[in-house]
Symmetry: C2
Subunit: 107 residues, 2 copies
DNA sequence: CGCTAGGTTCTCATTTTTGTGAACTCGATT
DNA sequence: AATCGAGTTCACAAAAATGAGAACCTAGCG
C-alpha cells in the first residue's frame, strides 16, 4: 500500500516556486492551493476515521475510484455537494468562509 | 427595488420549527442552512462591494439571472468553482473547513 | 510465486450546474 | 402614465461533476 501520496509537505516548495517574483499567477496559484488543500483534507479525514477509499465510498454511495479522484491534489472539480456528503459520512459539517485576500507582501 | 430578500432573520424561527423535537431531520436541516447561508453571504458580499447583480455578473462572466439564482436561499446547486469566481471578483478568497458537528443537545 | 488489499487511472454514460434570454414585478423618476 | 433600473423566474442548451467498471500498480503475505 504505497502510492503517490505526498499529501502534504511540498507546499512551501510549491509556494516559493510560484509566488516568488511573478504576480499575475497568484489567482491561478490560489486555485491550485485550494484544490490541493481540499484533497488533503479529505484524505486526512478519511485516515482519521480509519477507512479505506472503498469503505468511504460505500458510506456516501459512490465508488472507490470517485474517492480516489477527490483525493487527487490536481482534481479541479470539487463541489460543495460532495464535500457535504463526505462531511456527513464522517460526522462533520462543512463551513464556507469568504476571507480577506491573503496579502503576502503587506504592500 | 423591493423584492423578496428577507436575507437573514427568520433563521431562529426556521431553526425552532425544524430542530425542536424531531432529530432525523437534522441532516436535511443542516443542508438547507448551509445553502441559505451561502446565498446570504454572496448577497452581503455583493452589497458591501456596492454592485448590482448585473455588475457582479459581468465581473465573473455570467448573467444576472445566474447571480440571482445564487442569492436564492433555496438554491441547492452551489459549487466551489462558482464561489471561487465570486470571491476572486470581490477580492476575497474561499476557505473550506470541516468542523465537528454542531451538537445541539450535548447528549 | 500467486494472491490479496488498497490505491490509481481511464473511459463513458448519467446527473447536476451553469449560461442565457425572455418575460415579469415593483418602485422610483420624469 | 410611461420608462427605467434592479431583481426574479422560467425553460432550455451547454458544460462540468459524478457513478461506475475495468485494468493496472505495488506491498505484504501464505
Amino acid at each position: 500500500m504505497a502510492q503517490k501520496q505526498f499529501h502534504s509537505k511540498a507546499g512551501q516548495f510549491l509556494y516559493n516556486r510560484y509566488i516568488a517574483g511573478d504576480s499575475r499567477r497568484e489567482a491561478q496559484y490560489e486555485e491550485e492551493v485550494i484544490n490541493a488543500e481540499i484533497a488533503r483534507k479529505i484524505y486526512q479525514l478519511r485516515m482519521k476515521a480509519g477507512l479505506t477509499q472503498q469503505e468511504l465510498a460505500e458510506r456516501i454511495g459512490t465508488s472507490k475510484s470517485a474517492i480516489c479522484r477527490l483525493e487527487d491534489a490536481d482534481y479541479e472539480g470539487h463541489s460543495l455537494s460532495m464535500l457535504k456528503r463526505i462531511a456527513a459520512a464522517l460526522d462533520k459539517r462543512v463551513e464556507i468562509r469568504f476571507m480577506p485576500t491573503k496579502r503576502l507582501r503587506t504592500a
